[in-house]
């Protein structure tokens, strides 16, 4: 069967199908946040699903910018739905880890199929997310040592949850690839 080339829909990079799929990953993050905010009260637990879907989005659409697009959609949707307790700072909160996932994907495109790489990228990206609060505290004139201590506690919790969820990503990606549901993404370093 002949395959006609798909028309690019967004930023000359993503097709409409890919865009919608990434939008759905954002939907899952919103669902997880909405569900978790009512039930659990553990600090940092929200990164469990957030990082999982960022990594999964990168695995399902192996193109540079896919995680960032998910981050952008989640921030806009959270802002519209009034889900961000931090107002417009919600953009930094989601875009920062998403950008890191994309950077990792640019350097090592196949990282989503490796458990070690996935855990490393997930943990580091989630830990960096703790910086989104730190810069406000630092600008407010908080003592550097206090800022550092608080950031270390927050970042460790974020990294722990993100690392745990990242463990499951490679097996899911491999299963989706084996069944031909997603591209292999071997030469997608764009």
């Amino acid at each position: 069967m002949m395959h006609t080339p798909e028309r690019m829909f967004l930023w000359r990079r993503f097709t409409l199908r890919e865009g919608i799929l990434l939008g759905f990953c954002a939907t899952f993050i919103i669902l997880a946040r909405a569900g978790l905010r009512l039930h659990l009260h553990l600090p940092g637990h929200v990164m469990f699903f957030t990082m999982f879907f960022f990594l999964l989005a990168r695995g399902c659409v192996p193109k540079t910018g896919s995680a960032t697009l998910v981050g952008l959609i989640v921030s806009l949707a959270s802002f519209l739905l009034g889900m961000g307790t931090k107002g417009p700072a919600v953009f930094v909160k989601f875009l920062l880890p998403a950008l890191l996932v994309d950077c990792a994907g640019y350097i090592f495109p196949a990282f989503v199929t490796s458990v070690v790489a996935c855990v490393l990228v997930g943990s580091v990206s989630a830990a960096v997310r703790a910086l989104s609060d730190t810069w406000i505290e630092w600008l407010s004139g908080m003592d550097t040592e206090i800022v550092l201590q608080k950031t270390i506690i927050t970042a460790s919790l974020f990294a722990l949850y993100a690392g745990l969820s990242a463990l499951a990503v490679p097996s899911i990606i491999r299963r989706l690839q084996r069944n031909g549901l997603i591209d292999q993404g071997e030469d997608e370093k764009r």
């Binding site: 028309r7 967004l10 999964l56 806009l76 739905l81 600008l139 997603i182």
Partner: protein, 268 residues
């Protein structure tokens, strides 16, 4: 009949806020302001919060921020909802300061920075509490390209759909023996079931739905042109009454760029 918990009747404002930064329908001056003005005011107050250092500056800013908050006819209960997280954080920060510099030296800097952080976020909370989703979407359309806003609205539109899907998959998998009950998921040994019995089928469903939605949109030529297009029914002629004796001519639907709000009722 029993009154719902947490609600007051009569002339007093109802305490209906379920979560932080939830939009509240009120008739206030702040509600009537445009989203752009509110964003500008939010940015200004947040910047002042970061810059405030002396107790006098901080007190003045607390007063202004509270006036702005209560001018939106929001209640102290709403305020508590919005700043609850930061109050807990303030306890940690003040404790760290006291541990680090001693009670006498560490108390004021701890209080100051905690208040600054709270003041930084309150204007954002007012923005979210006083601006409806519709107003935000209208504002968003002016700033964000229509293709991106389409993806945002699709992701919001599919929240209830995937919520139902999640519920159905979860029920089916539980019947097959998967350990997916909330109390079972508290045990990390059951997290494998969460990923492989719930999130994997959900992802497969998402892939299939994305395919269907994109095909449906592309069949209507969505995203063909740079500008937003709409389906102009007036160019298709009069609505035809189908009769087997007299076949009606079919005019192909034309795609026109959006030009005014009146023509937006039949968007593609």
């Amino acid at each position: 009949m029993k009154k719902p918990a947490g609600k007051k009747t009569g002339h007093k404002l109802s305490r209906t806020s379920v979560y932080a930064c939830q939009y509240m329908t009120r008739d206030s001056l702040v509600h009537q302001l445009g989203a752009g003005w509110k964003i500008a005011f939010c940015t200004l107050l947040s910047a002042l919060a970061v810059g405030a250092r002396t107790p006098r500056e901080l007190l003045a800013l607390v007063a202004v921020t509270l006036i702005y908050y209560f001018a939106a006819r929001l209640t102290p209960f709403d305020l508590w909802r919005d700043i609850k997280f930061f109050v807990y954080q303030a306890v940690v920060v003040i404790s760290l300061y006291c541990l680090h510099s001693g009670l006498s030296k560490g108390l004021w800097p701890g209080i100051r920075t905690s208040v600054q952080v709270i003041l930084f976020y309150i204007p954002g909370a007012v923005l979210l509490r006083t601006t409806s989703t519709g107003d935000m979407m209208r504002g968003l359309r002016r700033v964000v390209p229509y293709r991106l806003s389409f993806l945002v609205f699709v992701s919001i539109r599919f929240v209830p759909f995937f919520f139902r899907e999640l519920d159905e998959i979860s029920t089916a998998q539980r019947l097959r023996g998967a350990r997916l009950l909330p109390r079972q998921l508290l045990d990390p040994r059951n997290w494998g079931d969460l990923f492989h019995c719930l999130l994997l089928p959900l992802m497969v469903r998402a892939l299939k739905t994305a395919e269907e939605v994109s095909l449906s949109a592309e069949a209507r030529e969505f995203g063909r042109r740079k500008q937003r297009t709409y389906f102009d029914v007036s160019l298709c002629g009069e609505p035809a009454v189908r009769s087997p004796d007299k076949p009606q001519p079919v005019t192909p639907p034309l795609l026109q760029p959006c030009c005014n709000r009146g023509q937006l009722n039949r968007k593609v």
